[in-house]
Symmetry: C2
DNA sequence: GCTTCATCTTGACGATGGAAAGAGGCAGAA
DNA sequence: TTCTGCCTCTTTCCATCGTCAAGATGAAGC
C-alpha cells in the first residue's frame, strides 16, 4: 500500500502521540466517552498499534493521570514561586496553581481525582500523586515550621481538603452556578486567604 | 421456553430491580466497568429489557446518581437530627452524614461527584443535587442567622468544600494512607469541629 | 373469549478492547 | 554490502458492548 511521508509504517513517536491525542479526546468526550480506537485514529495508526505501548486502555488512562499530576506539580510550584507574602503566600500560590490546573483540564482532573473509582493503579501514577502531596506538605511546613507534626498534618488535611473540595464542587456545578468567572475567582482567592490565615494561627 | 415462577415473562418490578443490581454493580466494578447488559443479567432479564425503563445507559446512571443524592440527603438529615449542640452541632452532623454516605458508597459517590465528566444531566438528578445543597445552606443559615448573605454563602462554600474535599481525598487515598479507620474518623471529626467553630466565629 | 397494549425476548448492527498472526523496516553482524 | 533478528505496525478475528427493530407474552378491560 502506498504510504505518504507523513504516515510512515513506523510512527516513531507513537507513545507521545497517543498521550497527546488521548488527552484531547478525554477533555472532548469525557471519561466514559474515551476510547482507545479513537486515540489511535487521531494518531494516524491502526487500532491495534497502541497495544505495544500501552498494555490496556486503563494503562493509557493511568499514564494520562500520571502526567496530569506531573503538570499539576509544575503549576503549583510556578504559582508558589511567583507569589509574594513569604511562606503563607507560597501556600496560597500553590492553591491558585492547583485550581487553575483543574479549571483548565476538568476531565483530566476528574480522572486524577477518581482513579480509585476507575480502577487505575500504576507505580508511575502513585509516584506522581505522591510528589504533589509532598509539595503541599512542604508548603504547609514552611508556614508553621515550629508546630507539632500532628498540627502540621491537620493543617495539610485542612488546606488540601478546602482547595480540592472548592474547585471540585465548582467544576461539577455544585457551587457558583450563575456567578461570573471573575466573581468565582474572587471567591476562590477569598477562600485561599482565609485558609492561609487559619494555618498561620494554628502555628502560633 | 419453560419459565420458573421466580422469573415470569413480565418481571413487574424491573425498574427497581435494575436500580438495585446497577448500584451493586457500580460499587463492584467501578464506573468504567459498569455495563447495562450485566445489570440486566443480574436482574434476570434479557439484555434489551432495560430499554423500556431507561432510554440509555446514561439514563440509568443518572437515576443511580439521583437516588444517591436522595439517600445522601436522608443521611445528612438523620445525623443532623441526632446531633447535640444546637445549630452548630447540626452542621457537624450533616458533615458526618455526608462523609458516612460517601465512605459507604464510594463508587456511587464518585459518580455523583463527577457527573459533569460523565456527561450525566437529567432534571431529576439536578433536583436531587439541589435538595442536598439547600439542606446544607439551611444548616449554615441556622448557625449564623444574622450574618449577611455574602458571609453565609462564603461559609457554605467553605464548609461544603472542606467536607467534600476531605472525604474525596480520603476515598481516593490521597490522605491518611496508613491510618486506621478509627484514626481517620477522629481526623474527620476534628476537621468538622474546627469547621463549625469557624462558621460560628464568622457569625459574630 | 377477545382485544389491546405495556412489557419482555430474540436477533441484528456497528463499535469497542484485546489477542493472534503476519508484514515492514531498522540496526547490527557477517 | 547483504543477511538476520527484532521492534513496530497492520490485518484479521473474537467476545462483548449499547442500541434498534421485530416478534412473543400475558395482564387488564370489554
Amino acid at each position: 500500500m502506498e504510504r505518504s511521508k507523513a504516515q510512515p509504517y513506523h510512527h516513531g513517536q507513537l507513545r507521545e502521540a497517543l498521550v497527546t491525542s488521548g488527552r484531547a479526546l478525554l477533555e472532548e468526550k469525557g471519561i466514559r466517552g474515551f476510547t482507545l480506537r479513537e486515540c489511535a485514529r487521531r494518531a494516524g495508526v491502526s487500532h491495534a498499534a497502541p497495544a505495544y505501548h500501552f498494555a490496556s486502555i486503563d494503562d493509557l488512562l493511568a499514564e494520562l493521570a500520571a502526567r496530569g499530576f506531573d503538570e499539576l506539580a509544575v503549576a503549583m510550584t510556578t504559582e508558589a514561586n511567583r507569589a509574594e507574602g513569604g511562606a503563607a503566600g507560597g501556600l496560597i500560590g500553590q492553591g491558585v496553581g492547583y485550581m487553575a490546573f483543574a479549571a483548565g483540564n476538568p476531565a483530566l482532573f476528574q480522572l486524577m481525582s477518581s482513579r480509585e473509582a476507575n480502577r487505575l493503579d500504576t507505580p508511575a501514577l502513585a509516584a506522581a500523586a505522591d510528589k504533589v502531596r509532598a509539595l503541599h506538605a512542604a508548603a504547609v511546613e514552611a508556614v508553621i515550621p515550629h508546630a507539632s507534626g500532628e498540627i502540621k498534618q491537620r493543617m495539610a488535611d485542612f488546606t488540601g481538603a478546602s482547595v480540592h473540595g472548592f474547585i471540585s464542587l465548582l467544576l461539577d456545578g455544585q457551587i457558583g452556578g450563575k456567578d461570573s468567572s471573575r466573581a468565582l475567582k474572587a471567591r476562590g482567592l477569598s477562600l485561599l486567604s482565609a485558609m492561609a490565615e487559619t494555618v498561620v494561627r494554628a502555628g502560633g
